[in-house]
């Protein structure tokens, strides 16, 4: 069953800064299957972050259409975007970005707080996700500052999936980790996609890591240069 959870149609994003217009994305079109792990690769400044920000509803496209899990994200005003992020999206960032004065488990429970889930249910679910992400139980109550980079990123992954989002977006989640840890996090994300039917999109510079994805989207200069399917080992131009 090829259910398309993300569909982008001639998606364009330009920034105006100091009187100049920067075209970060130029008419990008692609789709992502539900439950797949997609890697986005490309040189620095090619528009990868811009793309995941649009998919995650952190920013509005300049033009084009973007559908995520049946929601026309390109049309949503700010108030509806909040609701969209809250229910449909999980984020993992390069620098973990945990809240420093909250414990690991409180960080993971945050998205549930914003959904208004009751306290006991939140804690249960957060502990479940931390276990899934592989954080030792005795560290649940520790603040992020006491955890290693790898442990922090496990917490961040747990936080991204705690509310059962349709898609998890990870912008260079392994950018700060050594290769062994990077592989572990990548495997974690892949297991997530495989076992829970969550769609995962990962931005990475590391082609070794990208190879673990089902599909690789190659972006250059704001355009999709190629899509690499792991199963078929084929490459199609799409741009």
């Amino acid at each position: 069953m090829t259910d398309k959870v993300i569909t982008a149609d001639r998606l364009t994003k330009s920034f105006r800064f100091a009187g100049q217009t920067v075209q970060a994305l130029r008419e990008v079109s692609f789709h992502v299957d539900r439950g797949s792990l997609t890697a986005i690769v490309g040189p620095s400044g090619s528009g990868k972050t811009t793309l995941v920000n649009l998919i995650g509803g952190l920013d509005n496209p300049t033009s084009g259409e973007l559908w995520v899990d049946g929601v026309p994200v390109h049309e949503l005003p700010e108030s509806r975007l909040t609701d969209f992020r809250r229910r449909k999206v999980g984020f993992v960032f390069q620098f973990y970005n945990l809240i420093p004065n909250l414990s690991a488990i409180e960080n993971v429970a945050l998205p549930l707080e914003f959904q208004g889930v009751p306290r006991t249910r939140r804690e249960e679910r957060a502990a479940e996700c931390l276990a899934m992400a592989g954080l030792p139980a005795e560290r649940y109550r520790h603040p992020p500052g006491r955890l290693s980079g790898g442990e922090q990123q496990r917490v961040a992954v747990a936080r991204a999936l705690v509310h059962g989002p349709a898609i998890v977006l990870a912008d260079e989640p392994t950018g700060n980790l050594d290769s062994a840890m990077s592989a572990t996090i990548m495997d974690l994300l892949r297991a997530l996609a495989r076992d829970h039917g969550t769609t995962v999109v990962v931005v990475t510079h590391d082609h070794q890591l990208a190879r673990r994805a089902d599909r690789t989207l190659n972006i250059e200069d704001g355009k999709v240069r190629g899509v690499h399917e792991r199963r078929t080992e084929g490459s199609t131009d799409c741009g």
């Binding site: 984020f91 960032f93 945050l110």
Partner: protein, 428 residues
């Protein structure tokens, strides 16, 4: 709820900054409370005074301008008995004013003409000009049995100048009076007065009437009917003035500088605290812009951010108010008396006690130095307001703290709520 809780916890994110900010806020709160307490204390003193003095009705010969004015018309002594029989009258105090011949041995500037003799009802409190009470420090006060007797209570300055002691004799209009008491008062004018029984005074000065009568009503409710009754009875021969009618205006006049200074202080300390809350929250929001972006990315709405930062501002300001209350409890009284000293009405250093407890306050301008005496009387009657930490004050501090947090934190919190997540997450 959780947003508020996070706000509360975030107050302690940057401990050293919070401590410094709390120090400033609590000082401002403490100062504000001092100003508030001083103003309130004055207000309640004024009301108390009004209750006391407000029951006084002054009866004087028609057209006489103040009791010091020497008029030909006097009040018939029989009025004392008549008025005492009227409804709602608590006390009647007749006054006869006479002057003694000038003294020798005066200091430069000390005018003999001011040596006044007051004929008063023996047994009552001794008050100068119906205003400042004096204290008998040696011997005794006049007593009811002294009616008709040539006895005198003399001011300490007269005793000093004429080298008089208890039991000595003093000449008033060439009649010897036995000194039974010496009274003391810091006011030079009062120290130059002599009190004798009023019936004797009438005789000695050859007067056929009283200079003035002070009537005290049983309560403030009797004042208006009593005034009407007095006017109805004595008509055009007397002026009847109820003290309560012009007391407040005069009080407020002489306290204006203190009140306006404390208001200004209150406003300034509130303003300073507001700026500190605003500045701190502004910095906090800039500092945590990225974190706000992350919170929004993981599902926080504008409302969540607004509540979190709003509550942080309110908690900070509230904490400042609470610590300020503590400071106030410790150093409020000392600060309050300093404030009052700095802004107090200009008054002679030592003053007669108990002005306003009975008798009228002299009208400014009626006599030389009248204004000064009046202001001195006011300052003394109001005294130094004692400030204490009351529940009402604490409640105001708490409410003020919350309001200030809301006001100072509003703009920074709105700013936080409006941050665009994609932009702030990008910033490193």
């Amino acid at each position: 709820m959780r947003n508020l809780y996070r706000g509360l916890r975030n107050v302690w994110r940057n401990r050293s900054r919070t401590v410094i900010v709390l120090g400033i806020l609590s000082l401002a709160a403490c100062l504000g409370l001092v100003m508030l307490a001083v103003e309130e204390g004055i207000g309640s003193q004024v009301r108390r005074l009004e209750q006391q003095v407000g029951t006084i009705i002054e009866v004087r010969p028609a057209g006489a301008y103040g009791m010091m004015a020497v008029t030909d018309t006097l009040l018939p002594p029989s009025m004392v008995e008549e008025i005492a029989a009227m409804d709602g009258v608590a006390q009647v105090s007749p006054y006869v004013v006479g002057r003694m011949s000038p003294l020798t041995g005066l200091r430069p500037g000390e005018r003999g003409g001011r040596r006044l003799v007051f004929g008063v009802a023996p047994g009552g409190e001794l008050t100068v000009m119906g205003g400042g009470q004096v204290e008998v420090t040696a011997g005794r006060n006049l007593e009811p049995e002294d009616a008709g007797r040539a006895v005198a209570v003399i001011g300490s300055r007269i005793a000093e100048l004429e080298e008089l002691d208890l039991g000595d004799e003093i000449l008033i209009e060439n009649r010897p009076f036995s000194v039974v008491g010496i009274h003391e008062s810091g006011l030079r004018l009062a120290a130059m007065t002599v009190f004798i029984p009023y019936d004797v005074a009438l005789d000695v000065f050859g007067l056929d009437g009283l200079s003035q009568i002070y009537v005290r009503a049983d309560s403030i409710g009797y004042v208006d009917p009593l005034r009407e009754a007095l006017i109805a009875r004595y008509g055009d021969t007397v002026d009847v003035i109820a003290q309560k009618d012009n007391l407040m205006a005069r009080l407020e006049d002489s306290l204006a500088s203190l009140t306006s200074a404390s208001r200004l202080g209150l406003v300034l300390s509130l303003l300073a605290a507001g700026v500190v809350v605003f500045g701190t929250m502004f910095l906090v929001v800039r500092e945590r812009a990225r974190e706000i972006g992350i919170l929004k990315a993981i599902g926080a709405g504008r409302r969540d951010i607004l509540l979190q930062f709003g509550s942080e501002a309110v908690f900070l300001s509230l904490l400042g108010a609470i610590v300020g209350l503590g400071l106030f409890a410790v150093m409020g009284p000392a600060l309050a008396s300093t404030v009052q000293q700095v802004t107090a009405v200009q008054a002679p250093t030592a003053l007669p006690r108990g002005i306003g407890e009975f008798g009228a306050l002299p009208r400014p301008g009626a006599v030389p130095g009248g204004t000064q005496i009046f202001r001195a009387g006011m300052a003394m009657a109001i005294g130094t307001v004692e400030v204490t930490l009351t529940w009402a004050l604490a409640a105001r501090a708490i409410l003020g703290g919350v309001a200030l947090g809301l006001a100072g934190g509003l703009f920074p919190s709105l700013m936080a709520a409006r941050l665009k997540p994609a932009e702030v997450i990008r910033r490193d």
